[in-house]
Each structure stands twice: as structure tokens, then as C-alpha cells.
Symmetry: C2
């Protein structure tokens, strides 16, 4: 149903725009220049995907109910975005949306393209960690961006994504969440979402950025050690959450925030980031590739670095590492 | 002859190590545990590649002369390197060695791996420009690095490569060349070599850097507009230059310089860069994506940025752009 080049199914878009109403076969036929038989085939195909579509002889077709899928047409029918999602690459299952996004970005995919999967078989977190991504319970998505910033400013993208995700979750579910530097969204100390930003750059600047985001929406449990450190919006709220609602909420917020970034108003994002952070002013321990620092997290700077005041009173500027919160 | 995984031909290595001497079929047979017939086949294969190999009944094989090719075994026979060239991927022809190197780096290729081609059909320069790379006249190579530096420090790799290239050219040919910021080696104002550094990074640092270098060694002319701006070592010196000699000279120098970089002694590279530069202290015009600056090039800083003092007396810090030298 979804073509390989990310272009949408026009019939589905039409039926979605008139959800609950009957659209006559004649109208569809005239609009797309296809035969009644071709429409019938397409309708049956949509039914197989999970759409409930009524058909009445001499009246037409009526879309009654959508399946619980993050289909591009559903996103398009719900929100109007300017640059985000001009192309949406949708996969029932894929290894990793970031890997897929890097591949198509290398081949020239447009700024704002989305890669969305219902399931990831090799979902990735930071530092080669696994991101558990079972079918149809979460949002596993990567955004391809071609920002007009320098490579050293790339952490701003992650911060922008984290602000958008935290705001969307709060607005759409009422669940209180916070940002843990550099890339996690926590609910009561447990990870509900994470961001993995990857970049391809050369001497003249950034070629592309792929910002992957995983949001645990309706997970009911987590394997092994993850039980202690991960959660989902469903577990936090006590009832199932509409994935499409979270997804469209995030996309709207991300586009708003990103526009500030591009307009040189990153300060606005940074202010919101500070308000949503659970690190600042608290005692933290940060472990990096070849260091460990304990102290008070004072602030983040314009380049996304965490400023930690250690025992000795010295302020360390930390570009990457794992933070744990201390009592 | 060259296996896909970059491992060398052992028979060729043996013959090269005893160039001009006869090695008996018995010795070869015992050493590699293969039959006389298998050796005969391999020798014939080497002859087809262009090796002159004498064979005397009951005496053995003697390698008399190598073809003019940048084969991994030839490199290994000439120099001992520590991390550079632990794997050498050799191609008679490829689209772009940088593209090939990025592909194999993404699949996990080792730090120090080399991609070498006799010809590039889609050789790349900065800003999507073409790098003319005809067969067997130049050095078209990419180096895969996994440096322990932060993304903002990546320009140091380009500077290290430029210093190594300029020094190798001077030492091996006597030709006086200079570095033009950020990535070119010039002889009498014309480009004889260029570097294209590309990087893949995430929030925890650099994943890999691919440093591509093109050196025009024995080109005899250049198409169209390039006539005015490009040259080769052969044109500069008035006689053909041994490509393998330039390549091994560069690799030795690059490994030395890179070791300084990794040891935190980039200052040493920077000092050499300054001495070899043709920009510093001169009037330049720099054109970037959305700016143009004219003034005196004062210096480069630790992050590889060019510092230009403009008319107004203000010092601009330039991260990327095209420099032209003014009278």
C-alpha cells in the first residue's frame, strides 16, 4: 500500500478526509481516473491492512475505523507540517530506523524525511546498546535533517528533540516527565523515551543528521534488567495511549522547536530544556569513555555540554557520558 | 590476486622479499603447503597482472620487475607501519575511494585501513566537486580512522594529512609545495593534491573519519578549466615520478604525524602546518556558504579555523570556505 518512495496512497487520504462519510465510487473513479474494479481491489487491500470500510451499492465507501498503525496517511490526515514528513518511509518491520535513515540520507533523501517502523529487530541506543522495539507498542522513528549549523552544534538537535518529546508527552497524556542529559526522557526515574542522534559531516559542514527517537507507549513489560530502568506511557498512566496522538503531538512540537533553532533562537529551546531537566541543581555522577566525575550539575551550555562542579570546586565541561542521579 | 577482505598474497610477499633472487619451488611448496601446480598457476596469474617472473627448472622463481601498480604487497614490502594499512583494500577501479571507505567503515573496518584505487570514475573534491582520477597516474586513496577526539576537533585530521603530504612530496621529489587552507597542496599556485575528510559521529563522539587524499603524480594534462589550476608532480619536476615512492613516503609521514595527534601533541603538527602554509600573512579572500571575507590571514587555531583580519580590523574565525590568494 505504501510505495517505496514514500508517496502516499491517495485513496486512503481521501477516505480519511471524509471519515464516517460515504464517498461514491463514481467520485473516486473520476478523481483518480481508475476503474470501479481497481477501486474495489484497493479497498480490499486496505481492509487487509486493518481498515474497516463499509460499502453500499450505489452509495459508495465509508471508512469507519483505522487500524492501530502509524501509517503516513494517518499522520498527514491529522496534522499540517511544513518541512517535517514531506516524505515518510514506513516499514512494518526494519532492523533499525536510524540505519535505514542513514542509508537513504546518503542517497539524497530530503530534509525532514521520516523513517517510521512498527517494529525494530535491531533497535539501537547510545554506545551500541539495544533499544527493545516490539511491534505496534511504541514509536520507533528517525528524522533526516540537513541543518544549517556546524558539526560542533549538533548536540542542539538532540536537545531540541528532547524538549519536543517531553512537551508532547506532557500535553497529550498528562504524564509528568523530565529530560535526563543528554538524551533520555524519564517518568519517575525510569526511561520512557530516548534519542540517538547521528551525523555525517565533511570539511564544509554537516551533510545530514539522523535523529532517532524511541518512545515506549504501550509496552506492558520489559525483559530482564530493563524492568528496573524502563517504563512506558501506558504503565505510567494506567491505560493504553493512542500512539498516533503521541506521534503527531511530537512532530508538531518538534517542527516548532526546530524552527527556533534554524532562526538562531536556540536560547528559547535551552530555556525550556532547563525547565524540563531533572539534572540541574542535583548531585550527579557522570561516567565517560576515560573519566568519571561526581558533583553538582550546574547547567548546560550552548553546545549541549553539561557543566558539573566537582568536589574540588572545579567546573568540568562534559561533552559525552552517562549520568546517574545521586540522592 | 587480492582477496576481498584485504589480506595479502603470500607468494607475492615472499617473492618481493627476495626480489632478484631465485626461490625454489620446493621452498614455496613447503612454506604454503601447496602443490607445484598451484604455484605455477599463481605465478602465471602474477605475470598476467604485470610482474616479470623468471622461472628456471630445478632452480625456482625470481621476481625481476614489478608493474607500476599500488598493490598492497608492494606497500608492505617497502615500509613497516604500526596501525596504518593493517588492511589494504585495493581496486583497479572504483567510483570513489571515500564512498567505498565509508561503506566498509560503516561495516566495522579497522582503524588504519586503506582503500586504494588505480582509477576513480567518480572521484570527489570538496563541495560536490569532481576530482579527475585517471588510471595509474595518481594516488587515489582513503584512510579509515577511529580517532579519540571530539567531532569539533576533526579538522585536525585534515591538517595532519596536509602536513604529511607536503612533507612527503618535498622529501621524495624535491618539488617545493605549500598548503592552502583548508585542504590543498599547491605547486607554484596550482593544485597538486587535495584532501577530503568526512566524518560519522554520534552523541558519544566520532564513529569514524574517512580522510581521502588525491595526489596528481604523473598526469600529463588536465581537461578544460583545470589546465589553469591543476598540476602534477611530473609536470612540476619535468620527469615521471614513482607513485609507490610517493605513497609510501606519505604513509610513513602520516603515521608519524598522526601519532603526535593521538599523543595530544597537535601543537607540533600545527607548527609545521604554519611553516608549510602559503596563506598566513597574506591577503586572502574567503567565500563561504553565506559570507565573503577579505583581509589578512593571520593564523589557524587549534580547531583548524582560519583567522582573517578584515578591513575593519575585526578578526573573523572561519570554519569552512574557499580561499583565494590576493596579490
Amino acid at each position: 500500500m505504501i510505495s517505496k518512495d514514500g508517496s502516499p496512497n491517495e485513496l486512503l487520504l481521501l477516505l480519511l478526509s471524509k471519515k464516517g462519510q460515504y464517498v461514491s465510487g463514481e467520485e473516486i473513479s473520476a478523481r483518480f481516473g481508475v476503474s470501479r474494479t481497481a477501486i474495489w481491489k484497493q479497498v480490499n487491500h486496505l481492509r487487509q491492512v486493518g481498515y474497516e470500510i463499509d460499502s453500499l451499492p450505489r452509495v459508495g465507501y465509508c471508512l469507519k475505523k483505522s487500524p492501530d498503525l502509524l501509517l503516513p496517511e494517518e499522520i498527514m490526515a491529522q496534522i499540517n507540517l511544513t518541512f517535517l514528513g514531506r516524505r515518510i518511509y514506513y516499514y512494518p518491520t526494519t532492523g533499525s530506523t536510524n540505519e535505514e535513515a542513514k542509508k537513504i540520507a546518503g542517497e539524497g533523501a530530503l530534509h525532514g524525511s521520516l523513517v517510521i517502523a512498527e517494529e525494530q529487530t535491531g533497535g539501537k541506543g547510545r554506545m551500541g546498546r539495544v533499544w527493545i522495539s516490539p511491534p505496534r507498542v511504541g514509536i520507533w522513528m528517525s528524522i533526516i535533517l540537513r541543518p544549517g549549523i556546524q558539526p560542533y552544534e549538533a548536540p542542539r538537535i538532540t536537545m531540541t528533540g528532547a524538549v519536543a518529546a517531553a512537551k508532547a508527552i506532557r500535553e497529550r497524556t498528562g504524564v509528568t516527565c523530565h529530560i535526563k542529559w543528554p538524551n533520555d526522557i524519564l517518568v519517575e526515574g525510569r526511561k520512557v523515551a530516548g534519542i540517538l542522534t547521528e551525523m555525517s559531516a565533511d570539511m564544509d559542514g554537516i551533510n545530514y543528521v539522523v535523529m532517532g527517537i524511541g518512545i515506549n507507549v504501550n509496552n506492558e513489560d520489559f525483559p530482564g534488567e530493563l524492568k528496573e530502568i524502563a517504563t512506558s506511557l501506558k504503565l505510567a498512566r494506567g491505560e493504553a495511549v493512542d500512539r498516533l496522538d503521541i506521534l503527531t503531538g511530537f512532530l508538531s512540537r518538534f517542527e516548532d522547536c526546530y524552527n527556533y533553532l534554524e532562526a538562531g533562537e536556540f536560547k528559547k529551546i535551552l530555556e525550556e530544556w532547563r525547565l524540563l531537566s531533572c539534572n540541574l541543581g542535583r548531585r550527579v555522577r557522570v561516567v565517560g569513555k576515560n573519566f568519571a566525575v561526581e558533583g553538582i550539575a550546574l547547567d548546560v551550555d550552548d553546545d549541549g555540554a553539561l557543566l558539573v562542579k566537582s568536589e574540588s570546586g572545579q567546573v568540568e565541561r562534559i561533552l559525552s557520558g552517562d549520568v546517574s542521579l545521586k540522592a
